[in-house]
C-alpha cells in the first residue's frame, strides 16, 4: 500500500476508535460532564492529562523549534515540564480537596466575590481560545499535507469528531478518548525517533543516542552539530544566544503559566481522592516526560539530517520531501548565486522573511517568490520550523507506514488538546456565568443542556479560527502563558497558602497582573513591532518572559492592597483550613 492509503487507514482507524469510546462513555449528569463523576483512575488520568497537555505545538512544532534554537530551546523543555512540579506540590491536591467543578469556582468561593469569579472567567476564556486556535491550525496542516484534502475540509472533519465526543461525552468522554489519544500520539512520536536514532548514532534509545557518537565515526553528535552550525554562521548548537535573564524569565513564565492553565488544573478534579491527585500529577509528568525527553534528541537528529540532505545539493536532484513542502509553501528556495545548488546558512533568505509565492517556475523548476533576496547573507532556503517533525521521517527515508503513523499522532495531539480546552470553556460559561452568576435558578438538567450548547458554540468558533486563521496565532502563545502566570496562578497559590488575602487584594492583584502583562505584550507584539528587540525591553526581558514579572507584580499588589481592607470572613478561614487537611 502506498503512504497515502496507509495514512487514510491509520487516521480512519484512530477516528473510529475515538468515536467508539465516546459512545461507550456518555455523560449522564453535570458531575459526569464537568469532572467525569470523580471516578477516574490516577494512571488513566495521568495519561489523559498528558494528552490534554501535549498539543499540536508539543507534537508538531516543539522539536522543530528546538532544532533551530539549540540550547535556547531548553526554555520550552524545562518550562513545560517543571510547571507540573508546582502543580503537584502547590495546587492540585488542595484544589481537589476543595471539590468543585471549575477554576473560577475556587476563585469565586475563596474570595467570596462574583467579581473575582468573572475576572477569572475572562482570563480563562482568553487563554483557552488562544490555545484552541493553534490546535486547529495544526489539524489543517496535517490534513493538507498528508491527506491532500483542502485545509477547510480537514478542519470541518476535525470539528465533527471533537463535537461528537466532547458534546456527547463531556469530561467523561474526553478523558477516555484522551487515554486512547495518548497511546496513539506517544507511539507515533517514539517510532520515528527510535528509527532515526539508530540511523544516526546506532543507539536505539533517542535520549542516549542524543549524547552518543555518530555511526562510523568517533565524533559525538553534539560536537559535530556545534561544528556544522558554527561553520554555517549560526550560534553553536549547545550554547545559549539569549541572555541569562531572558532565559530565566521565559522558563519561569512557562512554568508558572503551565501550573495556572485551567484545562490542566481541572483534570485533577476528576480523581476520587486527594492522594490520587498527587499521584496523578506524577503519572502525568512521566507520560509527558517520555515525549519531552525524546524531543530534544529528535531536534538534534533533524537539524543534522536536514543540513546533510540539502546542503550543496542540486535543486533538480533535491529530495522529494523538499519539493513536497515547497508545494505547500512551507519551504522556499531562492538561488542567489545562480549555481543551481541549494545553499543553507544563517540569516533570512528573503526580505520580509516569509515567502510570497507567485505563479510560474524558475530556471530549475522551483516556485517563484516575489520577495527580493536578502543580500546581507548567502542563505538561500526559507524553512518553516513547524515542518521538522512531520518531515523528519521523510528526511530520514523511513518507510511509508511510519509517515502515516506520524500523521495520526499529530491529529491525536491536536484533537485531544482542543477537546480539553473546549470543555473548560463550556464549563465556565454554563457553570460560572449562567448557573453561578446570571441564571442561578436553572435545574441541573438545564445546566447540562447549556453546557452542551456552549461546547457546540465553542467548537464552531474554534473551527472558524482554523478556517480563517488569525495571523497573530504565533504571537498570542506568549499571551496564554503570560496571562495564566500573572493572573490565575497567583490567585490560586495565595488563596491556599495565605489565609489573610481578601477579595480586594485578590482582584487588585489579578487586574494589575493582567494589565501589566497584556500591555507589555501588546506594545511589543502589535503596536511597535519594530521595537521588539533586546535593547528596548524592560531589563532585557522579552514579551515571552514578561508573565513572570507580571506574576511578581500581582503578588506584591495583592499583599499590599489586602492589608488596607478587613480580613476575609470567618467561613473563608475555615474553608482554607479544610482544604489544607488532606
Amino acid at each position: 500500500m502506498d503512504t497515502q492509503s496507509l495514512t487514510y487507514l491509520f487516521v480512519g482507524l484512530s477516528f473510529a476508535l475515538y468515536i467508539g469510546i465516546a459512545i461507550w462513555s456518555r455523560a449522564q449528569s453535570t458531575n459526569d460532564f464537568y469532572i467525569a463523576g470523580k471516578g477516574v483512575n490516577p494512571v488513566a488520568n495521568g495519561m489523559a492529562t498528558a494528552a490534554d497537555w501535549m498539543s499540536a505545538a508539543s507534537f508538531i512544532s516543539m522539536a522543530g523549534l528546538i532544532a533551530f534554537l539549540g540550547k535556547d530551546g531548553s526554555v520550552y523543555l524545562m518550562g513545560w515540564t517543571g510547571g507540573y512540579v508546582l502543580l503537584a506540590l502547590l495546587l492540585a491536591p488542595y484544589l481537589r480537596k476543595f471539590g468543585q467543578y471549575t477554576v473560577p469556582d475556587f476563585i469565586g468561593t475563596r474570595y467570596y466575590s462574583n467579581a473575582a469569579r468573572l475576572v477569572a472567567v475572562i482570563c480563562l476564556i482568553f487563554v483557552s481560545f488562544t490555545y484552541v486556535a493553534g490546535q486547529m491550525r495544526g489539524v489543517g496542516i496535517v490534513f493538507s499535507r498528508f491527506l491532500e484534502v483542502d485545509i477547510n475540509l480537514g478542519v470541518v472533519i476535525g470539528m465533527c469528531i471533537v463535537f461528537f465526543y466532547a458534546v456527547l461525552g463531556g469530561m467523561k468522554g474526553i478523558t477516555y478518548t484522551q487515554v486512547a489519544q495518548y497511546c496513539v500520539l506517544i507511539f507515533a512520536y517514539l517510532v520515528p525517533a527510535i528509527f532515526i536514532s539508530i540511523l544516526v548514532t546506532g543507539n536505539p534509545v533517542p535520549q542516549l543516542g542524543f549524547g552518543d557518537t555518530l555511526v562510523d565515526s568517533s565524533t559525538y553528535l553534539l560536537d559535530k552539530l556545534d561544528q556544522v552550525t558554527t561553520e554555517l554562521g549560526f550560534n553553536a548548537y549547545t550554547e545559549n544566544s539569549k541572555s541569562k535573564i531572558d532565559i530565566f524569565c521565559i522558563t519561569a513564565a512557562l512554568m508558572f503559566g503551565t501550573a495556572g492553565l485551567p484545562h490542566v488544573i481541572v483534570r485533577f478534579f476528576t480523581v476520587p481522592k486527594v492522594s490520587d491527585a498527587r499521584k496523578s500529577a506524577g503519572y502525568a509528568l512521566i507520560f509527558i516526560a517520555i515525549l519531552y525527553s525524546t524531543a530534544p534528541a529528535v531536534s538534534a537528529f533533524a537539524r543534522i539530517n536536514f543540513i546533510d540532505s540539502v546542503q550543496n545539493v542540486e535543486y533538480q536532484s533535491s529530495p522529494e520531501w523538499f519539493q513536497n513542502w515547497e508545494d505547500i509553501g512551507l519551504i522556499a528556495w531562492k538561488d542567489k548565486n545562480e549555481d543551481g545548488l541549494i545553499q543553507y546558512s544563517a540569516g533570512d533568505a528573503l526580505e520580509g522573511t516569509k515567502p510570497k509565492f507567485v505563479e510560474g517556475e524558475g530556471n530549475y523548476g522551483e516556485r517563484l517568490v516575489s520577495n527580493p533576496a536578502n543580500q546581507s547573507n548567502s542563505n538561500e532556503v526559507y524553512i518553516d520550523r513547524d515542518i521538522m517533525v512531520l518531515a523528519n521521517p521523510e528526511i530520514a527515508k523511513l518507510p511509508g507506514w511510519v509517515i502515516a503513523l506520524v500523521a495520526a499522532g499529530a491529529l491525536a495531539a491536536a484533537l485531544s488538546t482542543a477537546a480539553g480546552l473546549l470543555l473548560v470553556i463550556s464549563a465556565s460559561v454554563s457553570h460560572d456565568l449562567l448557573k453561578k452568576t446570571f441564571m442561578p435558578k436553572i435545574t441541573e438538567k438545564q445546566e447540562l443542556l447549556y453546557a452542551r450548547y456552549s461546547a457546540a458554540v465553542a467548537i464552531l468558533v474554534a473551527g472558524l479560527f482554523g478556517i480563517y486563521p488569525p495571523g497573530f496565532v504565533a504571537q498570542v502563545v506568549a499571551f496564554a502563558f503570560g496571562l495564566a502566570a500573572s493572573t490565575i496562578f497567583p490567585a490560586l497559590f495565595l488563596g491556599i497558602f495565605y489565609k489573610r488575602l481578601n477579595m480586594q487584594g485578590a482582584i487588585a492583584g489579578m487586574l494589575s497582573g493582567l494589565i501589566f502583562t497584556s500591555s507589555y505584550i501588546i506594545y511589543f507584539k502589535f503596536i511597535n513591532i519594530e521595537l521588539n528587540s533586546v535593547q528596548h525591553w524592560f531589563l532585557g526581558i522579552s514579551p515571552e518572559g514578561i508573565g513572570f514579572i507580571g506574576m511578581l507584580i500581582n503578588i506584591v499588589i495583592a499583599l499590599t492592597v489586602s492589608n488596607f481592607y478587613s480580613k476575609p470572613p470567618e467561613y473563608v478561614y475555615e474553608m482554607v483550613d479544610d482544604i489544607r487537611r488532606p
Partner: protein, 86 residues
Amino acid sequence: MHKDYWRANLKILIILLSIWFMVSFGFGIIFSDFLDQYHIGGFKLGFWFAQQGSIYFFVALIFVYVYLMNKLDKKYKNHDDEEDKH
C-alpha cells in the same frame, strides 16, 4: 495536630522546591555554562541538565512528594475518605 501536619507539609514543600529550583534554574540556566566544562558521554553537563536532566529530576521530585505525603497522612491518621460536597 493539624498545625503540626501543615508545618511538616510546608517543610517538605520547601526542601523539594529548592531542589526543583536548583536542577532547572540553577544547573540548567544560571550555572549552566560553568557546568559545561564537565561531560557525561557526549553531553556537556550544563546542556544535559537544561535539555534532559531537569526533566528526570522533576518526575522524581513528584514521586518523592507523593511518598512523603502519604507517610505524613498516615502519621496524622488523616484518612482521606471521600466526603463529597455535592
